[in-house]
Symmetry: C2
Subunit: 376 residues, 2 copies
């Protein structure tokens, strides 16, 4: 028997040290797949036949409820902002386990969107069944084709992100957000959005793979920065507005794979309590992209600095003003403020990865965690 000239495990990882790193690097392609054929540059809208409803049906929707757990819950929170701001429709995100046990107030004019990479998350599946009982429009946002949630919702949109092996979700999160932006665009066009506005947003969504590619190119720089934050046992991630869910997700990612007690906070909430924990050198990761709320976030950064915290900023490329506030910073390309959530999340994925690697953690199989939580 001839020896194969390569380690089959390494081959699966495509030369990357971990599945997580491979999947981070796959994102430009995954996102291109998630977006391909779904933007209509003629009408300035998106084409999502999986939503399975006519513009007339969609116009009946009065509220959108996103359901998810963990990373999918954070994606749903981006969805909440996107739907309220783009489509002018009430939107909220609910923890799937709460929804199923709460006898939720749901009517036939509610659109319920269940978010689950695997399509098998037990709490989310049970929530879907509850929403079906209440007669809502129910949709799935899954990655795994033919999964239980995809089947039971009847309608939905697949992410096309490709298989996600790493326990810590990366490409599924960014594809979930990209698909939700396209959904919000479609609903927005059925409401107050003009063709011109729709077109503008569609063009920004089309740029996502390239924006992410440019962020990934900074991996080496992020690795150097990560070395300065790897020795701490606590960290805070702060953001406002669209970047608040990204702060939550950034903290969860770091927690999952590096075992640092990272916590995401709304920037305005810091001084209502958690600022008490800041000491000399405590890492604060501040999402201060150049979008609405930046000035306020920079004000909060100043408060943290005054307590001796070490600030790592994520800022918009070339924003010298914001850079001044930071001990270290990572730049992401300028883009539409909702679209900016995606490259920003990618920057934080790389940060978590490099910190965990510097700490010698398992990364692909963090202790105590399973890829899909199929029990309650």
């Amino acid at each position: 028997v001839a020896e194969l000239g390569f380690d089959s495990d390494a081959a699966e990882k495509g030369g990357y040290e971990h599945f997580m790193l491979k999947e981070i690097h796959e994102q430009p392609e995954s996102l291109a797949n998630a977006i391909r054929g779904r933007l209509d540059f003629n009408l300035g809208t998106s084409v999502l036949s999986g939503m399975g409803t006519s513009a007339r049906d969609l116009s009946e929707i009065q509220r959108v409820v996103f359901l998810g757990c963990g990373t999918s819950l954070h994606a749903g929170l981006v969805g909440e902002y996107a739907f309220e701001d783009l489509a002018d429709i009430h939107a909220e995100v609910q923890q799937a386990a709460e929804f199923r046990y709460r006898n939720p107030i749901i009517s036939r004019s509610d659109l319920v969107v269940a978010i689950s990479q695997s399509g098998e998350t037990a709490d989310t599946l049970a929530a879907v069944r509850e929403a079906n009982q209440k007669g809502a429009f129910v949709m799935g946002l899954c990655n795994v084709v033919g999964s239980t949630i995809a089947r039971e919702t009847g309608r939905g949109i697949y992410l096309h992100a490709g298989p996600e092996i790493s326990v810590a979700s990366t490409k599924a999160f960014t594809c979930q957000v990209a698909v939700m932006l396209m959904m919000a665009l479609k609903l927005g066009r059925g409401r107050r959005f003009s063709r011109e506005e729709g077109l503008k947003l569609a063009r920004e969504i089309e740029r996502i793979p390239e924006l992410v590619e440019r962020t990934i190119q900074q991996s080496d720089k992020i690795e150097k920065i990560a070395a300065r934050y790897a020795e701490h046992e606590h960290a805070f991630f702060i953001g406002r507005g669209y970047l608040y869910p990204v702060a939550l997700e950034g903290a969860l990612k770091l927690k999952e794979i590096s075992y640092i007690h990272a916590e995401g906070y709304h920037a305005a909430e810091l001084k209502h309590g958690p600022i008490a924990l800041l000491q000399k050198g405590t890492p604060v990761i501040a999402l201060a992209n150049d979008i609405a709320g930046k000035d306020k976030t920079l004000g909060n950064v100043e408060e943290c600095r005054a307590r001796g915290a070490r600030i790592l900023g994520v800022i918009t490329e070339g924003d010298k003003e914001a850079a001044e506030f930071m001990d270290d910073f990572i730049e992401v390309p300028a883009c539409h403020p909702l679209v900016a959530t995606i490259p920003t999340a990618v920057a934080l994925q790389l940060l978590s990865y490099h910190i965990a690697r510097a700490r010698g953690c398992e990364i692909d199989q963090p202790r105590n965690l399973a890829k899909s939580v199929t029990v309650e």
Copy 2:
């Protein structure tokens, strides 16, 4: 000049070592003041003239939005559950700073309730002004009479909790929750609640001061338990349903005064990430009162134990089944599940106080924190 026979500072503290402890002990009286004259045992409802609207006006309300920051935000989350479950009305809580910057979707049929102990919280005040612009019913829930939010909302309900000096809020939180339960009762009676059901809840609300008194009597026992948790730098608080906001508040309290990195989590979310942080001896404070969701929470407790966590349970008096799951436990009296949030919060206040004292912390003036956050 004759020497006064006592230290004036000690006199203000009424013999207690700290204002926080004094204020914890004042709660039976504060709550009695918050409730007095506000329950109608004839009609099985509450009398809250400060709401300033007739039953006919109230029937127009289609959604309730609670606004707050920090502890008030957590109180608002209890309000969200109470209004949905008792009054069958859509309710949600929003971080005040987000509300003011988000161009929120608010209509004339929305009731906006601004929660602020001081009535001067900058972000909450700005959110009130925004809600006023949108033509909503706007109400204040303040403790300080004549404060800016109380004046600008025009209508509202005072807590009557008495002055709160300690930076860490205690009696304001429990009085906020008590008042919101009475508000939900009133709205519930205008909707699906029968006189009989209303009466039952009113009788349970009337018991609150006594339930809290019985919880406070366990202060010495809680002090002994606290000694076992004082040496750790991390802690997780978990709860479900009505107890989820209490878990968040319990974690915030511990964080504020003991500088332990405590984080509140929905019990079902633990295994979607943060369970990775559990190691041998990591404290997990599990709110496992005998109300809906207890079995699921006990299941999550088992998962934490399997990872070596040390579990401190808050359980219902005499619940031997739940006690079996815990390394230590604090008992609170059996009562209505929504009412149970109040004695449970009191038990956690005492726990935080005793842990902080064992660690030699400042308690009344934690580092970096101000009593009222009057800047953004």
